[in-house]
Symmetry: C2
Subunit: 394 residues, 2 copies
């Protein structure tokens, strides 16, 4: 039941209503540059297609009150964020506002069949609540490289069994709607741009620090994926001449120095060295440590934990300083569980390094901020990704 | 006398003829997707505007021979490449083929009035040869950051007196045609994409190694300039924890380690240390050394000179490996006097480092090559830059 716009005027109208919400017909006509008669024709068709509706009359601007127009209130999109250890599934309205969200722990290494079964199970639960009848489209993010064109993961390091699995086709058949598949950082960047801190931004870097590290790149309001879809894969850029051996076989990679996994390793080392009674206590209690333990310890004033945060921030900051000089973004946003957990102490270190080491021209007006949507950035961005497709003409 | 296309169909036709040359009307209609009658209308208007002409009949494809159509053979564009120590001015036809080129040594530090006087003098010389009557547009590149929107240099480090000077307005008034101003690396990237080794490429990095180092970034066939126009300014990215103090005040910058200026400094040090009789001899003869001397010495098998090339290539390569992982380009092109002079030994070192240190996904099909246009990349790209504007609608 997925109706699509029939021409580029209709596509522009739909995107405008998605991004800015209901407006009066008069205002809408002005902003998209359509004549009154042409606007009426296109809106009539979109109403016939059940894509827009008129929720009432606008406030008077002097003279006859113009009718309001907005996207149909029963349009529903699905946003799916497959993480390393859990899956989030959200239903949104046509403006990508989350109406309901369910999660379930699942190891991505259990393979596509098992994980997609969990996704479809969660979709069934959402359907049972009556929050949607039909889906207009579904966006999906996974924690690894993706061929966006083919809708399949490509040699994803932490997703055994997923290589070339036809995620888009399989989900599209089961859900009965168009599906797009992308890398998790790309959808987080899109989410933050659609409804978060980067709403007004054209050229954006979204850096995710979770178990690994990745970067979503937005150029002129669209995700930039590069020649083979691996753009933004910054986890294995060299930040040091030597250092711990990385999972990729090289030494000196960013991820081997600073990431959720690296932080957990360093925390255990610090705990065992006797330099942090607090981390030692948590290690004795839980048998292992994570980035979250470092965040708690740093927050409690633990000197060794704070040093780990500062050291990690400095290394990531130096790499980022180079990328900022190269890419000259409007904004840099940090997200992901580890970045959110470490919060402002990490941000302070990153800012200090980037502002000191990037070109003044590139940092003059550069906000370096934390994600506003946090854990919801992925599902909102996934819904937005597929809406870009279904609200387009050809 | 600069006629512009009147609608987007005409703009598409003009660009198509610029990029691919004269074709039969039948073929042109097919590639741009216009009906026969609509094509006839638009081509008639473009003929009236003196922008296209019909040079004869095409070879038969079975049936009536279709008329050929091409850009008017008397359309002329100007490409101006202002370097640190000289100015190149070329006249091109509407396909950006260089018809005549003149150069003159001039120090960019003598300021905009003096340098633009040289440019206008060279234009006068070209006009005197009869190679053009009217100019359809002029593109200009300068060796420093530029506000593309305003057509002025912005705090360019090696161009005292040029900050905010209205280059575009002044030249436009004197030349009587539209003018665009850009950074020199951006126009070199455009030139290489228009007529050089990167003709089929969508996402490109063009790295210029001259006195300094800079990078032109092409995204989806267009120059990417970033939030404040400084994208690609990689000369001051940190490549080492310490190292020589850079002109910018920081330590460890790429330019302080590897650039024409750095190479000249290292060559003098090597010559004085007695490690290179060949460089010592050239130093004694000339009183100073340049990157070109290192190239000659390396070519002659001088071990110390070859070490300088390898060491520089390794440092630039390591930075580039990170940028390749981040940006995932279709191709990397090296140009500029120093890169061209050092040639394949430099290229070999760069390739070895990038292929070893970038993500396999990003380097799988990545050509790393030398500029094909060499010293003409700038003027061709400058002409192409302005043609993008005058062959557009609005």
């Amino acid at each position: 039941m997925s109706q699509r716009p029939e021409n580029s005027h209709q596509a522009v109208l739909l995107r405008r209503l998605r991004d800015d919400g209901p407006v009066s017909r008069a205002e809408l006509g002005e902003t998209v540059g359509l004549s009154r008669s042409r606007l009426a024709v296109e809106l009539d068709r979109l109403t016939d297609l059940s894509l827009v509706e008129s929720p009432g009359l606008a406030a008077s601007r002097g003279g006859r009150r113009s009718a309001m127009v907005g996207l149909a209130s029963d349009l529903r999109f699905l946003g799916v964020d497959v993480g390393a250890t859990s899956v989030d599934v959200a239903v949104t309205d046509a403006r990508m506002r989350v109406l309901d969200l369910v999660s379930e722990p699942v190891d991505v290494r259990s393979g596509p069949t098992a994980v997609l079964a969990v996704v479809l199970d969660l979709v069934g639960k959402l359907r049972a609540t009556g929050v949607f009848m039909d889906l207009h489209g579904a966006g999906v993010g996974v924690p690894g490289p993706v061929s966006f064109r083919d809708g399949v993961p490509v040699a994803p390091p932490i997703m055994p069994g997923w290589n070339q699995f036809p995620v888009r086709t399989v989900l599209s058949q089961h859900l009965g709607c168009p599906v797009q598949l992308d890398n998790d950082v790309n959808i987080m960047a899109l989410g933050e741009m659609h409804a978060g801190v980067a709403r007004t931004v054209q050229d954006l870097l979204f850096v995710k620090v979770g178990t690994g590290v990745g970067c979503g790149i937005v150029v002129d309001g669209s995700v930039y994926r590069g020649a083979s879809g691996s753009a933004g894969d910054i986890g294995h850029i060299r930040v040091d001449d030597d250092g711990p051996v990385c999972s990729c076989g090289n030494t000196g990679c960013l991820e081997a120095h600073f990431s959720g996994a690296a932080l957990a390793r360093s925390a255990v080392a610090v705990a065992r060295s006797g330099r942090s009674p607090l981390l030692a206590e948590r290690l004795a209690l839980a048998g292992s440590l994570t980035g979250a333990d470092v965040a708690v310890a740093a927050d409690a004033g633990d000197a060794a934990a704070n040093e780990l945060v500062r050291d990690g921030g400095r290394r990531l900051g130096l790499l980022l300083a180079g990328l900022v000089s190269f890419f000259n973004p409007d904004m840099v946003v940090f997200g992901g569980q580890v970045a959110s957990g470490l919060g402002h102490p990490l941000l302070a270190e990153l800012r200090s390094v980037v502002y000191r080491r990037s070109l003044p021209l590139a940092t003059g007006n550069l906000p370096i901020v934390l994600s506003e949507l946090g854990a919801q950035a992925g599902v909102v961005g996934a819904a937005r990704l597929i809406s870009d497709e279904v609200f387009s003409h050809e």
